[in-house]
């Protein structure tokens, strides 16, 4: 959904990256806009932006799903222990392999 810059509210999510006149990226897709972002967008003369859910990233979604499955087994473990952290990473990699 295209929204004019003067109609933006803090908290709105960018569906695509916003670039300035020279092509410089001002904010990435998925950014939740803060009042500071709104000031920057106005300062760069951005007239409108695309608001909504960013396009789905299947790899990212698989990773998040695998982390969720594995995290259930790690309840009660000392999460900041180096061995527990290493086992968590290994378990997520294994889960991603198991469910391609």
């Amino acid at each position: 959904m295209r929204v004019p810059a003067n109609g933006l509210q803090p908290g709105a999510i960018l569906a695509e990256a916003v670039r300035g006149p020279g092509g410089r990226q001002l904010a990435v897709a998925g950014t939740a806009l803060t009042p500071q972002h709104l000031v920057v967008l106005r300062a760069w003369g951005i007239e409108s932006v695309e608001i909504g859910e960013p396009p789905a990233d299947p790899d990212r979604e698989r990773l998040v799903a695998a982390q969720r499955v594995v995290a259930a087994r790690f309840r009660g473990q000392p999460a900041d222990h180096p061995a527990v952290r290493a086992l968590f990473q290994a378990a997520v990699a294994r889960e991603l392999q198991r469910c391609p």
Binding site: R73, R75, G76, H81, A83, V84, A86, L87, R98
Partner: protein, 284 residues
């Protein structure tokens, strides 16, 4: 009101599991004689053809990674060593007993879990350059025998405990201790003492949830604790249960860094399917 089961009562309901098979006891007696020669030992093993065949297959499996193929028991005695072969014969004997005692699906998932922990304990011990790493394999393989025996004796109680553990997202031993006053580790320790096994096996089994409480076999117990936590967290047994929390002092006593631990459990993971096939005689 139902009577709360005691450890003795649970063991009394364990059927065939109450004693180790005669073939293993015979072999153990031969090995205990200091004058036993390679030929004597090979002959004692050969009296049980099923045991002989599986020991040879185990000796030729990726667990050992030997460069030459072992065709004869006498070769296995030479290459693997008498003490280690005794441990492996014990492992095979117990797997047989378990296989004959329970429902097929329960046996399969129990042995998958046990073998994964046995292989992890063995791989950790190997990285610590321990002598006779097969005793770590057997300790890991036996660590949850109390859980198997408890389920044989009290299937409804165990099903209820598993539901509670899942709902409350706590390790199963927390629920067992609350309802029985002891956990499956204590049952396993009592069974192994009944089998007259040494403290190097009894203690890691009895104390694998509380490794710092082991009276004398601290390293063995810490290794089995670490192996069971790592195998469960990594999901080697395909289980979803919440694991015992990692014990910091056991981890320090074992002394592997995180990378070495991951190396050891990865090694165990890659040997799991074939080891299970050899031990159980079915694909994992």
């Amino acid at each position: 009101m139902p009577v709360t089961p005691t450890i003795d009562g649970i063991l009394a309901a364990a059927g065939e599991l109450q004693a180790l098979p005669d073939s293993w006891q015979h072999l153990d007696a031969v090995l205990a004689r200091s004058a036993a020669t390679t030929a004597h030992i090979a002959e004692a093993i050969a009296q049980d053809p099923g045991l002989s065949m599986r020991l040879l297959r185990l000796a030729n499996s990726p667990m050992f990674g030997l460069s030459q193929r072992i065709e004869r028991l006498s070769q296995a005695v030479h290459l693997i060593g008498t003490r280690q072969l005794r441990e492996l014969a014990l492992a095979v004997s117990v797997v047989d007993l378990v296989g004959r005692s329970g429902r097929r699906d329960r046996v399969a998932s129990y042995l998958r879990h046990s073998t994964s922990v046995g292989l992890c304990a063995r791989a950790i011990a190997s990285r610590r350059r321990e002598a006779n790493i097969e005793r770590f394999f057997v300790a890991g393989l036996l660590h949850d025998i109390g859980r198997f025996v408890l389920e044989l004796a009290e299937p409804d109680l165990v099903a209820d405990q598993q539901t509670q553990a899942r709902q409350r997202a706590v390790p199963i031993e927390t629920i067992e201790t609350a309802s029985l006053g002891f956990d499956h580790a204590a049952i396993g320790g009592a069974l192994l003492r009944r089998w007259n096994l040494p403290s190097t096996l009894c203690e890691p089994v009895a104390w694998h949830h509380l490794p710092s409480s082991a009276p004398s076999q601290r390293v063995e117990t810490a290794t089995v604790h670490l192996a069971s936590v790592a195998a469960e967290l990594l999901g080697l047994d395909d289980g979803e249960a919440v694991s015992t929390p990692l014990d910091q002092s056991a981890y320090d006593l074992v002394g592997l860094d995180a990378a070495d631990l991951i190396g050891a459990v990865s090694e165990a993971a890659s040997a799991l399917a074939e080891t299970l096939t050899v031990l159980v005689g079915t694909a994992a």
